[in-house]
Amino acid sequence: MLHWSVDYRSHQNLFDYEKYFTKALAKSLKIEYPQSYNWCRKKYRILPNYWNGFSTHHENYEGAGNIEFEKGHIGSLWEVKGIQNNTDSAERIHFHYFTGAGTGIAGNYRCTVENLNQDGYRSLELAGRVECGRIELHTGKGLSVIKEQTQTMPVYTNWCLLDRLPEQPFSLLENLDSLYREVKQQYLETWDYNGERLNGYVVSGYGSPFSYYWVNTQGHVVVAVQTLMTYVLCEAEFQGGNQV
């Protein structure tokens, strides 16, 4: 049984949401998660949650793309780099940032956004910095995009949240370029799916309507559900064993 928070079967007309959701989730539940690692790679499948009156998916549609990232340990930080390829929006985002253990994004970060549709807007280079809750973001040619101080620290991106869900309130720097301060998670309930126990959380706050995260017993987020998209972990690999 799909939990109500992930059940978007009825919202689709040309797309078998349940098939792709359960296939990806089954894969993620078979993965062996080590107690500790110093490098990992994860891949999330993006599935649309649109109401069927709005969906215009073609017949061979298999979802809205993927998010894939790897993180490796460098000194006291994790270096994270990856690609979010959303075929519905036609935007592909390449991202690169550093996080500390429990301290969120630290120092310089960058992302490059491409519009795969090749309309008038083709791509945008963005470079930013997070330091003590101060966030600044500029385009490659020097236009300012964000210049803000948040009082709610640490600062996480949506990709951080896909990996591990923070326990304390935080600021969310979505796609590294949209800042939502004062976001928090609250425990929802457990969901027993095919013999696996998943813990559910509701994430909400400033600029953040309810979203739902399902976390396995090792603390990895296997499903995240936002208003328009469900993200399901479908691949993960780990190396090393020095650091949790």
């Binding site: 109500w4 059940d7 079967r9 009825s10 919202h11 649309p48 949650n49 649109y50 109401w51 709005f54 969906s55 215009t56 959303n86 075929t87 519905d88 929006s89 036609a90 935007e91 956004v113 519009n115 549709n117 309309d119 008038g120 807007y121 083709r122 791509s123 945008l124 385009t139 040619k141 020097g142 236009l143 300012s144 995009v145 964000i146 210049k147 979505e174 796609n175 370029d177 949209s178 800042l179 939502y180 609250q186 509701v202 909400s204 706050g205 400033y206 600029g207 953040s208 309507p209 309810f210 936002q226 208003t227 328009l228 998209m229």
Partner: protein, 465 residues
């Protein structure tokens, strides 16, 4: 570069007039949209021409009422080859650019504009969360790279808080558990003062509240009937988060604009296609002629101090959605042959008033007329013969009416139509005169099935047929 300013038409979707911090709403925080009002003139009595997306947006694009376009409903394609604002700007020496939602049915924005961002399909309603950030990226990229000699006209059509519709669609198919034990309940906004169904609603509205097959999303309508008070309050709470979401996008866009060379010579027209009923009159979404559905924010702003005489000022002038078109044309120095007016001279401090009455269309047979004090909501009774030409006083009988005193009863709870027949007559006299100039067009085939189904429901309310 020309002396004429660059113009940005900045729109969001489905945002009610009161969903802004600067309007005194303490349940949300919208610093970026607020800044448009601080740097500009707020029009406190601005109204949609028709409180659904496509008709309202067609009015912005053409300066005509939906009945003049045969575009009275979503799914109605423009019935006639009227020029749109993109085409006019192009011939008028501007560089017309567009990103985001357009939703003028039957007109491809790529034919009228340099389309900065179109998505993988025409963006009308789906996918705001992902498309709004792409619209911002397109705008920032444009501010960074545009080097043309012509002034630009840039349309930025943000979709949120329209994603609230996705939240509501969840209730169509799923049993969502009772939220009352959830910790957030302490922070939920109160229900609105006018929560509830009030007596004497018109037949068109009664039909929409009761019947399947009318334009309202029927499965949402059925789901909300069972909502306890808390469910409505969670709905309002989540709606405000979608408003904050689009505010963040607008903040990024404005920050980039203000750090670009275009900050000095750009006028921003900020408005909304229609409102959202956050439990007011026990309704959700739009579709009605009550204030929460038709009253929309409008600000004319600039960040250089060049174009606005008294930034932070508020105007009580009554403005229609068609006047968005008239205002754009005025700033661009373009002449047009529509009834659209411009608020520019109010922004520049030369004039105070624009219109005596506002005319609003709705659900094909519904109409509202708003004057300085009174607002009349009325139905045209569907005739037995259907010619698909939008109804008007010359061709149809008036049905039910509601009259509200907006000064003493801004939440529209007490119908005065029986007590004040003279006020109703005065407004209907104005309607008769006004509609003489309305060049109504037959609606497109694409919407006729919906109109026929609704006609049967409205007949039933009038005990016809």
């Amino acid at each position: 570069m020309s002396d004429r300013p660059n113009i940005i038409l900045l729109s969001v979707d489905e945002m009610t007039y009161t969903a802004l911090s600067c309007m005194g709403n303490s349940c949300l925080d919208t610093p970026n949209m607020d800044s448009l009002f601080k740097k500009g003139i707020a029009f406190e009595r601005s109204y949609s021409t028709n409180p659904v997306c496509s008709p309202a947006r067609s009015s912005w694009a053409t300066g005509r009422y939906p009945s003049e376009l045969g575009s009275n409903l979503n799914f109605c394609q423009l019935a006639s080859p009227v020029p749109d604002i993109g085409q006019l700007m192009k011939t008028g020496g501007y560089f017309p650019a567009h990103a985001g939602k357009w939703h003028v049915e039957g007109r491809d924005p790529r034919e009228s504009f340099h389309c900065l961002y179109y998505g993988n399909d025409e963006i009308w309603a789906y996918g705001a969360e992902i498309f709004d950030c792409a619209t911002t990226h397109a705008a920032i990229s444009f501010f960074q790279d545009y080097s043309g000699e012509k002034p630009f006209y840039l349309q930025l059509g943000y979709i949120n808080p329209h994603d609230m519709c996705e939240y509501l669609h969840n209730y169509e198919y799923k049993k969502i558990p009772d939220w009352s034990g959830f910790d957030l309940i302490k922070q939920l906004p109160d229900l609105p003062e006018n929560f509830g169904v009030f007596p004497n609603e018109t037949a068109v509205l009664r039909a929409f509240r009761r019947s399947d097959d009318c334009l309202i999303h029927q499965d949402i309508r059925k789901a909300v009937l069972a909502w306890p008070e808390e469910e409505w309050r969670y709905f309002i709470w989540n709606y405000y988060r979608f408003v904050e979401k689009v505010d963040v996008e607008i903040g990024k866009m404005l920050t980039a604009l203000c750090s670009s060379r275009f900050c000095e010579n750009t006028v921003i027209i900020f408005t909304v296609d229609h409102g959202e009923s956050l439990g007011e009159h026990s309704m959700f979404q739009k579709f009605t002629l009550y204030e929460e559905s038709v009253h929309v924010p409008l600000a004319i702003a600039d960040y250089s101090g060049k174009y606005v005489k008294a930034p932070g000022g508020r105007s009580r002038a009554m403005v229609s959605g068609i006047d968005v078109f008239g205002t754009i044309c005025d700033y661009a120095g373009l002449v047009h042959d529509t009834n659209a007016k411009s608020v520019r001279r109010i922004v520049e401090g030369y004039e105070q008033d624009l219109r005596d009455y506002i005319y609003i269309e709705n659900n094909y047979w519904g109409r509202a007329v708003i004057g300085p004090r009174y607002k009349l909501i009325f139905d045209y009774i569907p005739g037995l013969a259907m010619d698909y030409i939008p109804p008007r006083l010359r061709s149809h009988k008036i049905g039910d009416m509601q009259l509200f005193d907006l000064l003493s009863d801004p939440h529209e709870t007490e119908d005065l139509s029986k007590q004040k027949p003279a006020e109703c007559e005065e407004i209907l006299d104005w309607v008769a005169d006004f509609e003489k100039d309305l060049k109504v067009q037959m609606v497109h085939d694409s919407a006729r099935g919906i109109i026929e189904r609704c006609q049967r429901r409205v007949w039933r309310e009038y005990a016809i047929g």
